[in-house]
């Protein structure tokens, strides 16, 4: 520590450039060490629970076995099998299709609800609670609930359809309807979460800009397009990336509702990974699919980061 003599004049108090560099260096080192000390536990967890497993996953893509029996090096066989396996392609297509249906749908519905809630000056809390409740339901509970909604015999929707004179709709047994139905159920579960997310974003927007725009004669739609959407860019940035990561890992609702059927129309990548690893004991193949999923999520996240970057 440098001690300053109180009797020194201003000129005498000026540090030499060498001493300044030394102190600056010491300060930087101390702040850096402090930062690492705080980051340390998280870095350790990152390395132990993410980096090493991902590297191990990559290694497993070149091997077979290794869980119940010894591992054996098989070169690129697993990669060849993955790209030539029709069910792997089907699972990728289903997952992408599902994400393409579920993400825009949940965002649009959540945004409409958030705008509506934002417009309610008082008494919105019960509505917010009601909207958020589906998000709290585990997939199994949601599956059970939707049995009473979708069942061809006693489901509410089909009861109404029959009452109106129509034929019951086989929501989960029809190959063309099963995936959109699962997407619909996931939208129902996710709407509350994203509504709250967008509502928080809307609440944080500066009100004076809206007043100014209103004084300038901008209508509600114009204000939404010109002000709200651009100002919500950081919220959208997080939302798109997070929703993509979550939806590409679709598993629980498919597992609980259709187990990938009918005719593989709802097999997701995660479900196929699960089957390969735990049902068929095909560790190398499952690891390869898993690694592909990780890479896909990383690439999509990078792409979204680029597209949604702040173009000041």
């Amino acid at each position: 520590m440098t001690h300053i003599d109180p009797g020194l004049t201003g000129a005498q108090m000026t540090l030499s450039s060498e001493e300044h560099r030394r102190l600056a260096k010491r300060y930087r080192r101390r702040t850096t060490l402090t930062a690492y000390a705080f980051l340390g536990p998280n870095l350790v967890a990152f390395v132990v629970f993410l980096l090493i497993p991902v590297v191990w996953l990559l290694v497993s893509t070149f091997r077979t076995g290794g869980v119940l029996g010894p591992a054996e090096f098989v070169g690129l066989d697993n990669w060849r099998d993955t790209f030539s396996d029709p069910l792997a392609r089907t699972s990728i297509r289903n997952t992408v299709l599902y994400s393409a249906m579920a993400i825009p749908a949940v965002f649009i519905i959540a945004m409409i609800l958030a705008l509506a809630l934002h417009a309610i000056p008082r008494g919105g809390a019960p509505i917010r609670v009601a909207l958020y409740l589906p998000t709290l339901q585990p997939a199994v509970v949601a599956a059970f609930i939707f049995t009473f909604v979708l069942h061809p015999d006693f489901g509410v929707i089909n009861y109404a359809v029959r009452w109106l004179g129509g034929d019951p709709i086989n929501f989960l047994g029809d190959t063309t309807l099963a995936l959109p139905t699962i997407a619909g159920i996931e939208v129902w579960r996710g709407t509350g979460f994203w509504t709250m997310m967008f509502l928080a974003g809307l609440t944080a927007l500066p009100g004076e800009l809206y007043h100014a725009a209103e004084l300038d004669g901008a209508g509600a739609i114009r204000r939404f397009i010109r002000l709200t959407l651009p100002l919500l860019r950081p919220t959208f940035y997080f939302a798109v990336i997070f929703a993509t990561i979550v939806n590409l890992q679709l598993f629980d609702s498919v597992f609980a509702l259709t187990d990938g059927g009918p005719v593989n129309s709802t097999v997701s990548v995660s479900l196929y990974i699960y089957r390969s690893l735990f049902l068929f004991g095909d560790i190398g193949f499952g690891a390869t699919l898993s690694f592909l999923l990780v890479i896909t999520v990383l690439l999509l996240t990078g792409l979204q980061t680029y597209l949604l970057r702040d173009r000041k």
Partner: protein, 460 residues
């Protein structure tokens, strides 16, 4: 102080002794109560839990106590009843009373829909339960991966020869694969048909509906109304729908794999015809919409009188006996085919984990579980079939449906091929069947598609 303490100590000791005596009495009472609370099923000769071996009329080969046995063994099994734990506790209590008082058996259950994953995880952990109940659909893959103990020497022990001889040879065939014996066959599950006799009788079809495939389809069509489906069978892989599909293929001389298990065994015109029949009956408008009702839902519809002819499983006989529907019902087999009249069944074996460090106790426990009194009582409790031949006459005395299953259907059982790849082959091929049942493929196209998937699995 001293006197105070010295007065308190004996008092405290007496108190604990009194508490211990009360607890012991309560436990004894609870044990007796459990016996009374069991479902009342009993095999002649079967002991109640805790009875001495003197009461066993059917000699239990494991009744001779194993004095050196001690320690803890784990036992895991899929549930065949909501009272699975209670039923196994009876078996374990008898084991402790008659065979090995110092061996603690820790019983747990796995969940059928995910049991392969659960067992894989347990084996991968390196410390799986010592004893597992494994079905023929999955054990070959575990045997191939070296996690099961080869029990050849154990089951060929001359001291156990008489017991071994009491188990049907076909059951041993299912347990002996890949040059080893991977367990002791204990139970079988027959996949039967339930029929609503009242509906069939009213339609004048009770005696003719199962003469042939055509007569079954005609009966299903005749019985279908706005409220009733003439026919029902499982259609999704999640419900193990292949159990209902197998008998028609076996009756046509086909199987999933060829005789040497190296290629698809779904060959020949009879197999194509059988597949076409199944497609026809699923597209004739006599079933619930394909994929709309799950396993339990189908049975519930039958119990409600809304399905006339239903493929299902014998454990549901318990449900029908306990809650009789307002119609007459019975069990039946699928009609005969051009090359046979088989019934589908799969079987369970009791295996020992290779990683078990108490194989001796595990083997004693398996011998006890597989003994006539124990397995017979359990089979009656859960309405499953036994593979022992020496207790058939005494079983299911008060259960005519199970008597019929055991006497008429079990002898016709043709099980699956216990190949390590059988479950993957079935999983890979089944979506083709699902597609065909929706009317998108002919029988020929379906068989070709299935064989493509099966050969793909076998090619690795």
């Amino acid at each position: 102080m001293f006197s105070s303490n010295s007065n308190r100590q004996p008092s405290s000791g007496r108190l604990w002794r009194v508490i211990a005596v009360i607890l012991a009495c309560a436990l004894v009472a609870a044990a007796c109560g459990n016996d009374d609370d069991s479902d009342g099923a009993s095999v002649p000769g079967a002991p109640e839990a805790g009875d001495s071996s003197d009461d066993i009329s059917t000699p239990a080969p494991t009744a001779e106590p194993g004095p050196e046995l001690s320690g803890t063994i784990g036992f895991i099994k899929g549930p065949h009843s909501a009272m699975e734990v209670e039923f196994n506790d009876q078996i374990i209590a008898d084991f402790n009373a008659q065979v090995a008082p110092d061996v603690e058996v820790e019983f747990s259950t796995y969940d059928w829909p995910v049991h392969v994953a659960e067992l894989t995880t347990l084996f991968a952990s390196g410390s799986p339960p010592d004893v597992q109940y494994l079905v023929d659909l999955i054990y070959p893959a575990f045997a191939e991966q070296g996690v099961l103990h080869d029990m050849t020497d154990l089951v060929n022990d001359p001291d156990w020869a008489e017991e071994r001889a009491n188990i049907s040879p076909f059951a041993w065939d299912l347990a002996e694969q890949q040059g080893g014996t991977w367990g002791v066959p204990v139970l079988g599950a027959v996949y039967n048909i339930f029929i609503n006799e009242t509906l069939l009788e009213e339609a004048g079809l009770l005696d003719s509906w199962d003469d042939s495939y055509e007569s079954m389809l005609a009966a299903a069509e005749a019985l279908t109304t706005d409220e009733v489906f003439g026919f029902g069978a499982r259609t999704s892989a999640a419900d193990f729908a292949w159990w209902d599909w197998y008998p028609y293929i076996h009756n046509a001389g086909g199987d999933v794999l060829s005789d040497d298990w190296t290629e698809c065994g779904l060959v020949g015109p009879d197999v194509v015809d059988a597949m076409q029949f199944l497609i026809d009956i699923h597209t004739a408008g006599v079933t619930p919409a394909i994929g709309s009702v799950d396993n339990q839902g189908l049975f519930d519809l039958f119990a409600a009188g809304r399905i006339a002819i239903l493929h299902h499983e014998t454990p549901n006989i318990v449900a029908l006996n306990e809650n009789p529907p307002d119609f007459e019902w019975t069990v039946a087999a699928a009609p005969p085919g051009p090359q046979g009249h088989t019934v589908m069944g799969n079987f369970g074996i009791l295996s020992i984990a290779e990683a078990s460090d108490n194989k001796e106790a595990a083997w004693e426990f398996i011998k006890h579980w597989a003994s006539a009194p124990q397995v017979g009582r359990f089979a009656e409790q859960v309405s499953l079939q036994v593979v022992r031949t020496d207790i058939l006459d005494d079983l299911f005395a008060d259960n005519p449906a199970m008597q019929r299953v055991q006497s008429e259907m079990v002898p016709r059982v043709q099980g699956l091929q216990p190949s390590p790849h059988i479950i993957e082959a079935l999983q890979a091929a089944w979506p083709v069947v699902e597609d065909a049942f929706r009317g998108n493929r002919t029988g020929e196209e379906a068989i070709a598609g299935m064989c493509e998937a099966i050969d793909g699995v076998l090619a690795g």
